[in-house]
Structures are given as structure tokens and as C-alpha cells.
Symmetry: C2
Subunit: 360 residues, 2 copies
């Protein structure tokens, strides 16, 4: 018997009969879902179904990205406009027990879903900044991925993990560890990955779906992004910019921005990196132009979640995000100042800032 | 007791006393060494030393790339000009039993080392096109990396694998599997990686050294390469070009070309990708301008090693290389024709060409 998350597993086992009795579970992911979000949603949905929960539905404010669509073929995943304010939809939020996955706070699922589920039944997450917001919280900031926590619980309890489930959970781990190389990667990640492979996860197939189906447009977007890279703070901060209209100009989409910021972060000497994007919001979200920033740090001592928090955003010590209604010039200046301040603070403290909260 | 390579392990165990009695072993890598080459050299060198071989030296025609230098701190690695034709060197090739690692044929180590060791004692390799060339061949084209074969043998035999050795062999596996995602990635890769982590390999540290120490010059080179990408053969062939002088213009080095071709390969619909480079050869190699091409395929049925062979090159089914003395225009036209012919041949055979030789 595996024993990856003894406390969580005991708690999860105790809740299963409740979920079975309830009969309907909604698994809620965050806006702009990534591999760990979709992997965790699909993995949890399949295991709950296999464990006897009558109806399980995944809900997302945004569409499942093209590169992750291979995971959702056999799972019911609804996109916000399909069930909110749609008179033809048979979906009634009140009938469902909601489990939020990979959401650093309740608002990360988007205002529509947050309103539909004001008091989630449970949440499973690994974000350092998560304050806890459900009746039953499964929160572990020492885990590399929400999918890792779920896979660990399922393995501990001997719940049925079939090939599709293993693919989904493996994908979550692979994407949130940067293919097993971010500092959050632990021996547990490998042990769990090995167990998932033994149950049918196909690393090569997943690698193909995730990384070998690029569009030329995405590479043109990358080219445009690289051209804008600027080093600041004596080479310790690197940021790049995507102006509005860039997706049309390069033949790419919003999804294609994923991972771009890692190029800025990968430079030797850079401690903090940012991708700043001038985003035209979708009509059904009210339209308008917003500034969106993705922040990354090489080392958790830099706590980019604290920088994001200054702008109302959040995330992990090494990866955070924010959205602001501001003018481009003013926003970039403000962000630069906030990063410079954080770099100076960490330096002044000898790199020990908030070490008690730091994940390594 | 592990049992990853039963036949090889038995053979290796039988040769160890011979190597101990001989006392001096030279471990020869290939030109422009990559992570698997250096990882295998360092791993083998350290294990042989720990197993009682008096003197072990690694030899390379080219320098250890900057990003791999973290592996060689405690290992003697000599670069060709340090021991060939250097009257001050105490190195006498004739005193050494040579083991070639990760070389698809004897010539891959460079003409100087090939001449110095006309009959290698042993070779360890995983290249499909390898014809066998040593007294004792350890050749397995079903392995993802030479480091995987060596790690498997060491684990089978219970030979001493310390932290540095584990780091080196893990690095070889990680780089040659594209971080556990090329089709060559098998459950054995994960099992061996897990064993190496248990013995001290640090995925995050290795990830940092390999992928988080980029130069801005390397990103400028990537930008320049992306700009040249062209789709041919109805989108099934993608190639990009690096003209001479590009390293100076972007502030990059030859080493920085590593991995660029994978961007061309990653495009959906592309089956074969190429990076063509106009290379000015080093003075001590005679100077002159040569055309160098790196070929990649998504699927081994396309056998890019066969395309490379037409130009006197070689490699794997999915990754091969070649060097030609030719004019740029003429060479690109010839390469395009060879690729088109190979795509047509595979199509005509329903994708079954040479399937008996195919690695999956």
C-alpha cells in the first residue's frame, strides 16, 4: 500500500460516501486552464465516476486549450457560456457539490463560477498563497502539482486509475514541474509518475500532444516576444511584451502565450522574469483592454506571489500572475518598481525573507 | 538485484578484471559532445575508478560545453589539442585501453582520436546506424541513451554509484529523452532515473544547469533562426538556416545551436526538420567553410539517418547529422530533394519502410 499523503487520503476516504450519496459533483478549474488544472479535473472526475458517484461534470470559465484536448475526450467538460445564463442548459449549480481544483483562491475560477458556487464542498490545491476557502481543504504547498496530490491520494487508497486517468494526472505533473525540472520536483514526483506509467500513462504520447503540435504562428509569436526582451535591475529582471493585435499579426492565439515567460526566466543571472500582455477581453466578459502579467522566479526566496499581490494577483513563490486596468507605460513602470523593490528586500535580508513560508 | 541489461552486465563484469589489470582506460566521446556523451563519459570514468581501475581519462576532440561543465569538476577530461601533438603532454595513447561511448561509428570521435585508437577495446552506444567497431561492443538501439545502458549495467552489477556519478548518468538520460518525452522514452528510463535519484541525482539542480543558464545571445540566435523557418513538402518538412557570422551578430556560440532544430520539428504536420548551418571550421582543423545539417524526425519510420547517410553522415532514425563541402544554394536544394524523396518513399510503402530496423 502506497503512502504518499496519509492525512489527505484518510480525509478523502471519509468524504467519498458523502459524495456518492449526493450523486452530483461539479469539478471546477481555474481561468485559462493549464495542464495541471485539466489533468486534475479529468483525473478526479474519472476516479469519482469509477468510485460510484452518479454524475460528475467539469466546469471551466475558459475553453480547454487545444493542446490539452486529448485528455478530455471521454469526460464531460462544460465551458461557462454553455451552462451559465443559457436557458437551454439542464445544468443547475445548486444540484452539485463543487470541488475546486488548482485554484489559489475561489476567485481564480472566474466570477461566474465563483458566484454559482459560493461555498465549495472541497478544494484540492498546491498554491502557497491559498488562504483555504472550502468546507474541506486539501492544500499542500510542498506538492509540485494538484495532480500529484490527487494521484497520491488515489494510489494510497487503491482507487481505480485507468489509462485515461493516468494520462491526465501524469500530464498535470509533467506540465507543473516543467518536465521534472522545477525546484518543486521531488522524488515523490518521480515515484508517482512511475506508478502512473505502470497504469498506462504514455510519456511519449503526452510529450507529442503537449510539445510536438506547435503552430508556425506560435513560433512567430515567440520570435516577436524574444525581440522585445529587456534586461533590467542589473540583469536580474527580464521582461518581454506582447502588444494588442500581436495574435492576429503572427497567426497565433492567447493559448500560445503559455511558456513564453520561461524564455525570459532562463537567462543566466535573471532572478525574476515577466511577460506583460496587452489583452483585449472577450465580449461576454465586458470587453476592454487590460494589462496582464505572468511572473516567474528561479528561486522561491523571490516570492513573486507577493509582487503579484500588490496588483491584486496571486500564485506561487516561483510563478504568479495578475491583471490590471492601467495604461501600458504606467503599468510597466509600476511593475519594474515593484520587482526592483522585491529584489532589494530579498538582498537586504540576505536571501532569508519569509523563509518560514518558502517552498523549496 | 536489478536486471536491466542481463547480457551486457554479464559481459561487462567479465571485462572488469581485464581493465583493472591493464590499469589505464581512455574514455572517448564524440565531437561536439552533448549531455549523453559527457554524462556517459563521466559516469563510466567514475565507476571504473571506484571499481579499482588505476587511471581513467576522458578524451574529447571538442571542449565540454559550458552548460555541461558542472558534471566534469572531479573528472579528468582532456581536449584534443592538450594531448595530441603536444610535446609537453605525458599522455601516450598506446598505454590506454580505449572505450568509445555514444559514438555511432569510430569516426564520430574525430579523425585525431580515431587515429590514436585504431582498435578500441570496447564501445557503448545506442545509435541505430552503428555497425559495431570495437573488440567488445555494447550496442542497444532500443535504449534512449548511452547513459541509460551504463546506468543499467552499473545497477545490475551493484557497482558504486555516488552522487556525482548519478548526476552524470541522469543528465545523459534527461537530455537524450528530451526530458522524458521522445518516443525512445520507456518505463525503463523512469525506473533507472528513479534509482539514480535515490543515489543522489538532483533533477532541479540538473534542470537549472541545463536549461536556466541561457545567455541573451542564445535567445537572439533562436530569434534569428525562427525568422528563417520555411515549410516545404506541403508542410511536412521545415528547415531553418544559420548563415556564417550569425554567432558574432547575435553574441552567441556554436554550442548555442543545440536544440534549435527541435523548434522546427515541433510544428504540427511537420515530419522532418533540419537546421542548416554555414560553419567556419577551426584553424587547427584546417579552416574553410562547411555546410552542416542536423536532421530530426517525429517518427522513426522516416529514418533521417538514411538521409544523412547520403551525404556521408549518420545517426538515429529520429536524429541524425551530416557535414558537406558544398555551396549553400546547391546544398539546400540537394537536401530538400533528399527529404522529399524519403517522405515519398515512406508514403509509398504505407509507412512500413524498414520497419524491421525501426526503433520505437
Amino acid at each position: 500500500m502506497a503512502c504518499f499523503y496519509p492525512e489527505f487520503s484518510q480525509k478523502f476516504a471519509a468524504l467519498l460516501p458523502e459524495l456518492r450519496a449526493h450523486g452530483r459533483v461539479a469539478i471546477v478549474g481555474h481561468m485559462r486552464p493549464d495542464g495541471d488544472c485539466i489533468g486534475a479535473q479529468v483525473g478526479l472526475a474519472r476516479v469519482l465516476s469509477a468510485a460510484g458517484v452518479r454524475e460528475v461534470t467539469c466546469l471551466n470559465a475558459d475553453h480547454v486549450p487545444r493542446r490539452l484536448s486529448f485528455l478530455t475526450a471521454q469526460t464531460r467538460v462544460l465551458h461557462a457560456p454553455e451552462f451559465l445564463g443559457n436557458p437551454d442548459s439542464d445544468f443547475r449549480a445548486g444540484d452539485y457539490a463543487a470541488i475546486f481544483v488548482d485554484c489559489a483562491d475561489a476567485a481564480r475560477c472566474g466570477v461566474e463560477l465563483q458566484t454559482a458556487f459560493p461555498k465549495p464542498f472541497a478544494m484540492v490545491d498546491h498554491h502557497l498563497s491559498n488562504p483555504g476557502f472550502a468546507t474541506h481543504d486539501f492544500l499542500d504547498a510542498n506538492s509540485a502539482a494538484t495532480s500529484e496530490i490527487l494521484a497520491g491520494i488515489f494510489l494510497d487508497l487503491g482507487l481505480p486509475i485507468d489509462e485515461q486517468t493516468a494520462q491526465a494526472l501524469y500530464t498535470g505533473i509533467v506540465t507543473d514541474t516543467g518536465q521534472f525540472r522545477f525546484p518543486s520536483t521531488t522524488p515523490r514526483c518521480f515515484a508517482i509518475a512511475g506508478e502512473l506509467i505502470a497504469r498506462g500513462a504514455q510519456p511519449a504520447e503526452i510529450g507529442y500532444e503537449l510539445y510536438e503540435r506547435e503552430s508556425l504562428g506560435r513560433l512567430r509569436l515567440l520570435e516577436a516576444f524574444l525581440k522585445t526582451l529587456r534586461l533590467e535591475c542589473s540583469g536580474r529582471f527580464c521582461f518581454g511584451f506582447l502588444p494588442k493585435g500581436i495574435f492576429e499579426a503572427t497567426g497565433s492565439t492567447v493559448e500560445d502565450t503559455e511558456g513564453l515567460v520561461d524564455y525570459a526566466r532562463s537567462i543566466e543571472g535573471v532572478e525574476i522574469a515577466a511577460l506583460v500582455e496587452e489583452r483585449v477581453e472577450a465580449e461576454w466578459r465586458g470587453g476592454g483592454v487590460k494589462m496582464k502579467a505572468s511572473l516567474r522566479a528561479k528561486n522561491p526566496i523571490y516570492r513573486v506571489d507577493k509582487i503579484a499581490a500588490k496588483f491584486g494577483g496571486g500564485g506561487h513563490a516561483c510563478a504568479a500572475g495578475l491583471t490590471a486596468e492601467a495604461d501600458r507605460e504606467a503599468f510597466c513602470a509600476e511593475l519594474l518598481a515593484a520587482v526592483a523593490e522585491q529584489l532589494a528586500r530579498v538582498e537586504a535580508s540576505g536571501g532569508a525573507t519569509n523563509s518560514e513560508e518558502t517552498i523549496l
